[in-house]
Symmetry: C2
Subunit: 329 residues, 2 copies
């Protein structure tokens, strides 16, 4: 008998996809959110579950756990250009959970929702043998503004918001007992690009978009496979987190590439768009304080090449599943 | 330090309510669904989580578990008169879970969604130490058709759809090793009143509505507390499930009242409406094959009296939390 541990998550999802009835929805499984038609808008819906043993570090404060479950759900809304309408939050908690843990968790969740001008509108509270949180976020975007994972075209610029490796820096500081609250915040208190997603979507200039929650290489491979295109990525252009630079200099025998190319948890946006539109997108995001950096180009041939000086290599799809395979958190 | 086991679920929910920011939403915590404004409609959202140790009987087939998580979420949409738009389903599963369990579970969930002309539009799959399922359903209802828990008025008829005690009959058959697949179906494969909810809401004749998932007494107390009214309930008028009647005759020393008054799991609708409207509601539901039975009246004084012949008693609020306190499933 085959077990999930033999199948792996990706195979399990394929099985689920093959069973469920395909509704007449324009965007379903395979994108960051499901999108349902609501007149001229799409209703965006996304859900994420995390559990104590596999996803929640002992070093996380209860407030941060609450922030985190809301933030990772909002990031999927951000990646589609959605304005959040609200969230529901289900809590599976052991009966030994303390009142103060519950209070801090809810405060963190509420603070994250409030930060993005949205609300927790409902939920469920049930007993569970481990802390298990399930958030569902919903949002709305004009159909013509929706940023799909589909649409990357040969010649397009590939760009990322902010910097990569921030969450990895937090992980490294934790692993090497260099606990620095400021650096850890990048890992435990991600800031989804809601305002940036909304601003970009209004410009209608993006050809494809997704969040980089699982790491840059994993995201690039997903866009590549959906669009039957490839990428050339200039390693030197990737905006490296200053924290990752500093921390990697203090640690022996570390391959920093593994962290900014493959490690997840940054919740930045990966976008493709034409060269002309890239400048407009940069200006648009600059006005709200966010950098947008070109890291390469979409190619016709379906491989992903990483270029550093004269060296061209195929980018491995390490597909880190953040908070899972690496057993960090 | 206070723990959740000291607080109980109701106190925990009060604490959560006191912390989260109140958005400008018309209906939030305290009703079956959250309702958010979408032009002339409300977007309805509800979420329910179940876990292996506390909510899922060993006697349930995987297909039934899938049906169940979808059905209980749709029941909340039904109680507000909503047309389902879709569901997302998060699965927390142990790594030892078999492929066939996953397939059957998803098939059950999909079959339930299809039965109600809706779809599973997305989800998440994560490792968990016990089977933990979290469903979120969303639906839509015209604002003017929304059936709130608020609005029961002195003099209104109190009525229920279908019959009560069906799920209890399944529970009793299980407890007494009289396993009858047909009777167990009522417990494990609830049929939310989606079509009935939509039909009733279109008539705009209901003054308040909720589903009876936690049992009749618990539901009556919730409507009473929200509306500052009371009820007189005629015990002889309560439509008893034929299965419960039959099974209770076979079991010694059973207080059948406990089962049709307090046991949950039937997922029928409890409604209040004026006497004139009651007849219209009956006709409306009859055309889609559903009985609607008057069981009593809304009273001015805020107590709930149960009447049988000359005997009047205060109805106890046993508030069974189905699949929890009674540790059945």
């Amino acid at each position: 008998v085959k077990k999930l541990s033999d199948l792996g998550e990706r195979k399990a999802i394929k099985i689920i996809e093959s069973i469920i009835s395909q509704g007449e929805i324009p965007v379903g499984i395979g994108d960051d959110c499901a999108a349902l038609e609501l007149n001229d808008d799409y209703l965006l819906v996304t859900t994420d579950m995390i559990a104590e043993k596999t996803h929640i570090s002992n070093s996380m404060k209860p407030w941060q756990i609450g922030w985190y479950i809301v933030a990772i759900n909002l990031s999927d809304i951000a990646a589609k250009g959605g304005k959040p309408l609200g969230l529901v939050l289900s809590l599976g908690l052991p009966s030994k959970t303390s009142e103060s843990f519950l209070k801090d968790l809810i405060k963190g969740a509420d603070d994250c929702a409030s930060f993005y001008n949205t609300f927790i509108v409902g939920g469920d509270t049930k007993e569970n043998s481990e802390i298990t949180l399930c958030g569902t976020a919903f949002g709305v975007v004009e159909k013509s503004c929706f940023m799909s994972r589909m649409g990357a075209k040969h010649g397009d610029v590939v760009a990322v918001t902010g910097s990569l490796g921030k969450a990895a820096a937090g992980y490294l500081s934790l692993e090497n007992d260099m606990d620095d609250e400021h650096i850890l915040k990048n890992l435990f208190e991600p800031k989804p690009r809601i305002f940036e997603g909304v601003a970009l979507s209004k410009e209608k200039i993006v050809s494809s978009c997704m969040d980089i929650s699982d790491g840059l290489s994993s995201s690039l491979y997903q866009i590549k496979n959906l669009n039957k295109i490839g990428f050339k990525i200039y390693k030197g252009k990737i905006p490296l987190s200053q924290n990752l630079k500093e921390i990697s200099e203090k640690i022996k025998d570390i391959n920093v590439d593994d962290y900014f190319l493959h490690f997840g948890g940054d919740y930045e946006l990966l976008i493709t768009l034409s060269k002309q539109n890239f400048i407009n997108a940069q200006i648009c995001l600059e006005t709200i304080g966010c950098n947008l950096t070109e890291i390469g180009r979409v190619t016709k041939d379906s491989s992903i090449t990483i270029i550093e000086g004269d060296v061209k290599e195929v980018l491995p799809n390490k597909g880190y599943e953040h908070f899972k395979n690496n057993n960090v958190l």
